[in-house]
Structure formats: structure tokens, C-alpha cells
């Protein structure tokens, strides 16, 4: 499995939802044969997922889509930027980068300290910098305002989070001429490239986020950056 890939999850018997829910792979613990999902309860689908208990059966189709690009050089300096629950795929990405021999740096943004999740696990993989909107931890403000971005230069940037945040980071990356990829979360139905619902308008026209993405290089996008 590649970091950045996702699963289509369905809680069988959930009467409030009809379609599966695309959820990114948070971590793969091969030693314990586990796949982790980090789920924020926002609607009926994620609420049904959150009600599951140990031993319950979860209907999952995975792994789907294309993930993040892994560096080929040990000296490569990647920056992994996450916002809110968008930090989810970055833990597995950090692990995979760590395994290639290069050290990932994390820049994680949240509303408040309470919204920062899995911090010890990120810290075990590389340096972690934090911004919170209320200043309760790390620097106050948004990730793009963090002093780290003025002080250090990275070789690549990998982003997952709310779209306005990803656009802001993409704008920084483009201005600095740093390769940047983002993980999109367009609404999906099938997850297999069949329904053509999750399309993103790109330089090559409409492409399915579920099969061409969810991770796409910002150069392919038509974002105003």
C-alpha cells in the first residue's frame, strides 16, 4: 500500500447512508496486520464508522487510487503539511519516507491544541512543527504563516487538509519553485473510476480523483495559485 491511497468504507446495515465513504489510509502496521483510519465525525457516514466496536465487521475496498511520491535520495528533504483531520495520510507517508532513509519534517495545523492528533507518533518519525489558530500550541495562525517556511528550504511539499489551506501551501510552493503535491477529497461514489462523479478539472481535462489521484501534483491542477 502507498501512503495517500484510500479505502472505500461501508458500515453494513447503516440506514442513514447509501454510498461508501472514501477514507484515507492513516497507517499500516504490518507487524500486527492492521490498517488504521483516522475519522472525524462530520456526517452520518463517519458517525456510523465511529460507532463501530472491536470485533465488528467493516466492509472495505482498498487500497484505491494513487498515493504520494516517495523520494529516491536519502538527502532529500520533504515537508509534510497537514491540516485538521487531513494529517491522517501523513503518518503513513512519514513512515514510508523514514523507511527510505530520509527524514520527513511535519508542519501540522489545527484550530486548537485539542484538535492535534497522534502527535507522539509524528514526533517519532521526524521533526514536528505546529500552528494553531488560537495559539494554544505552537505558533499562532495558519501553517503558511509558520516561521519554518522562512527559515528552511525543502525539496518537496506534500499536503493534505482543507482546500483553502492546500491552495495557500500550493501558492507558497509555486512561488518558491518547490515540487508540491496535494491530496484531494472530491465527493465520490464508486472509487473505481466508473461513475465519473469525483472529477477534478486539470490541464488534461476532467480526471477522476479516485483513480488519477487522490494525490495530484499542483502543476496538473487549474487552481488559481
Amino acid at each position: 500500500m502507498q501512503a495517500g491511497q484510500f479505502a472505500q468504507l461501508r458500515v453494513d446495515g447503516s440506514d442513514k447512508t447509501f454510498l461508501r465513504r472514501p477514507i484515507s489510509i492513516h497507517y499500516v502496521d504490518t507487524a500486527h496486520n492492521e490498517v488504521w483510519f483516522l475519522v472525524q465525525t462530520v456526517g452520518a457516514g463517519t458517525q456510523a464508522l465511529a460507532r463501530l466496536h472491536e470485533g465488528d465487521v467493516l466492509n472495505a475496498v482498498l487500497p484505491l487510487g494513487r498515493g504520494f511520491t516517495l523520494p529516491t535520495e536519502k538527502t532529500h528533504r520533504p515537508l509534510l503539511v497537514g491540516g485538521g483531520v487531513g494529517v491522517a495520510p501523513l503518518l503513513f507517508l512519514g513512515k514510508q519516507m523514514h523507511e527510505t532513509g530520509c527524514e520527513p519534517t511535519f508542519l501540522l495545523g489545527a484550530r486548537s491544541q485539542a484538535d492535534l492528533l497522534q502527535m507522539e507518533r509524528f514526533e517519532a518519525l521526524g521533526r514536528v512543527y505546529v500552528t494553531t489558530e488560537d495559539g494554544s500550541r505552537g505558533e499562532k495562525g495558519f501553517v503558511t504563516q509558520h516561521s519554518l517556511l522562512q527559515e528552511e528550504r525543502f525539496d518537496s511539499i506534500h499536503v493534505c487538509g482543507p482546500k483553502p489551506m492546500m491552495i495557500a501551501v500550493a501558492r507558497y510552493a509555486k512561488a518558491q519553485d518547490i515540487p508540491c503535491e496535494v491530496s484531494l477529497e472530491n465527493m465520490m461514489a464508486c472509487g473505481l473510476g466508473a461513475c465519473l462523479c469525483c472529477v477534478e478539472d486539470t490541464q488534461e481535462g476532467h480526471v477522476c480523483v479516485c483513480t488519477e489521484g487522490p494525490v495530484l501534483n499542483i502543476n496538473r491542477l487549474k487552481w488559481q495559485i
Partner: protein
């Protein structure tokens, strides 16, 4: 094992389960989940003479027991299909049927003529019922004259099995069915999606990019069943039933209503193995009730 094979106007299928256009890609997308040769026929994504970008995102909204879509016939055009996709389909031992759309009767006919040349594509399904494009599509499918004009034009250009997919967004679907039968259709399939709308109350705006979309999924099944029953009782040509089929029981209900075959659509998004599961379930039903052939139950519901 009961005999599941059926013949629809010359189209010989090993079982009555087909895939609905736009829900199964070109079949290749589902090869990891189902053996394609276990499906009666695979109706591939709607194809038009010229490439189409489709409608902008967002194109989908989940609804109670269903979904709305306004994809808008995104496809790379019939020439791309013939050159780039057909070669990877032609050696797969499955029945592939191409769904064809157009802006004018001439468009439809030209597109059908190109597909007529392809060996191993035994049928086309004419989409005169897409609710998500401004011109063509449903514009033809909502009047008897419009529907007949497209079918007549295509009939001249196409000599294999011609299926016409009907819109439920009409006052009398039987009138349209009779019109396309008289114009030369070999079979009809119904129903395409029902026009609907979703509104986001928090943002106070319509969810889909073009405002409206086509409703599919279990929510539409009772409407589809009623229309299939009505059309099957009105026409002499075979009827293919679709609309919200999720299980073998759903499919059997359509057969009992008079459909000679069924199409599985939105269910493919929920469970990519639905087609095979439904085919197996039809067999189990026939055995359980002592029927030897699937044709024995077609139209049993008077």
C-alpha cells in the same frame, strides 16, 4: 443449475444480468472484483460522436436510498473508443454493448455506424434519455416524434441488435416505447434516471453544478417496476428493466413484471460484485421454486 440463458432480439446472453451504462466503466475497472465473462452483458459508458468534457464538479449528491448525478456524458468520443478501448475489450469473452448518445439523429446514426463495424460488439443501447445535457439526450426521449426520429436514423445505419433506453421523465412512457418499437427498435431498456434536485440548506444553494441531476438507486425502484410492467404489457419487443436493483430479489421482481433481462447500475458503486451475486441469486430462486429456465418467470405477474 437452472438455465439462465436468454435471447433478446438475437442477442444471446448466458444470463439476464447486464450492467447499466455509466456505472461500470468499460468493465476493465471491475476485473479485480468480478469475472467479466460471468455477466450477461456489459453496457459500457455513454459514447458520443465528438469528445465531451461533461459537466463541472460537483456532479453527485447522496440522497435517501439513492444518489443524484449530473455527469453529463463525459467521454472521449467514438473514435477514441474504437482506437483505444475496443482493442482491450475485443478479446475478453464477454458481451460488450456500447451506449450511444448524440445531439441530432445524424450524430446518433454516425456514431452507431462506427460501432457497427466493430466485431464482437453485438448490440448498442441508444440513450435518448440523459437528463444531464442541454441538447440531445432527453430532448429526444420525451416526445414520440423525437424518439422515433433518432431510432429511424440509427436503424438505417446499424444492423445489429438495437436497444433504446427510455426516460421516465415523461407523461406516458408506453407511448414512447410504442413509438420506438414502430421506428425499428429491437428492444427497450428502462428506466434512465429520474430528474431530481438536492439543496444544501446551510449554504442555501443547489448542490449539483448544473442544479439538477438524475436520481438512481433503490429509491426509484417502485417507479421503475411500474413502468417496466406497463411497457411490457404494451409492446411486442423485449424489455430490459433497470432502476434501483441491489439484490437478486429486486431483479426477479423486474423479470416477473415482464422484463427479459435487467441492468445493474448504482449498486455497482456500493458492492462491485453485485452483478455476479444477482446472477447467482436468480439461479437459486429458480431452483428453489422449481423453474428450469429463467424465461419461465418472465412476465408471470399479470
Amino acid at each position: 443449475m437452472a438455465d439462465l440463458s436468454i435471447n433478446i432480439a438475437g442477442l444471446q446472453l448466458k444470463n439476464p444480468v447486464m450492467t447499466a451504462s455509466g456505472t461500470f466503466g468499460y468493465g476493465l475497472e471491475f476485473q479485480d472484483f468480478v469475472p467479466l465473462d460471468g455477466i450477461g452483458a456489459i453496457i459500457v459508458k455513454g459514447t458520443t460522436l465528438a469528445p465531451r468534457q461533461g459537466n463541472p464538479y460537483p456532479r453527485m449528491a447522496e440522497t435517501a436510498q439513492g444518489m443524484l448525478n449530473c455527469v453529463g456524458l463525459q467521454n472521449k468520443g467514438v473514435d477514441y473508443f474504437c482506437r483505444n478501448i475496443y482493442p482491450s475489450l475485443k478479446d475478453i469473452p464477454a458481451n460488450f454493448i456500447v451506449n450511444v448518445s448524440g445531439n441530432s439523429p445524424e450524430d446518433y446514426a454516425e456514431c452507431a455506424a462506427r460501432i457497427n463495424e466493430l466485431e464482437g460488439i453485438p448490440a448498442i443501447e441508444l440513450n435518448i434519455s440523459c437528463p444531464n445535457v442541454k441538447h440531445g439526450g432527453m430532448a429526444f426521449g420525451t416526445t414520440t416524434d423525437g424518439a422515433a426520429s433518432v431510432v429511424r436514423a440509427v436503424r438505417k445505419a446499424y444492423d445489429k441488435t438495437l436497444i433504446v433506453k427510455l426516460s421516465p421523465n415523461v407523461t406516458s412512457i408506453t407511448d414512447i416505447a410504442l413509438a420506438v418499437q414502430d421506428a425499428g427498435a429491437d428492444a427497450v431498456s428502462l428506466i434512465n434516471t429520474l430528474m431530481g434536485m438536492a439543496i444544501d440548506a446551510e449554504r442555501r444553494r443547489r448542490v449539483l453544478s448544473i442544479g439538477t441531476g438524475g436520481l438512481s438507486g433503490p429509491a426509484v425502484k417502485p417507479v421503475a417496476l411500474r413502468m417496466v410492467w406497463q411497457v411490457a404489457h404494451a409492446v411486442q419487443i423485449p424489455v430490459i428493466g433497470l432502476g434501483g436493483i441491489m439484490t437478486a430479489t429486486d431483479a426477479i421482481e423486474f423479470l416477473l413484471a415482464g422484463a427479459s433481462a435487467v441492468e445493474i447500475g448504482t449498486a455497482n458503486f456500493i458492492d462491485p460484485t453485485t452483478t455476479i451475486r444477482v446472477a447467482q441469486g436468480i439461479n437459486d430462486y429458480l431452483e428453489r421454486h422449481g423453474f428450469q429456465h429463467v424465461t419461465d418467470i418472465i412476465g408471470l405477474c399479470e
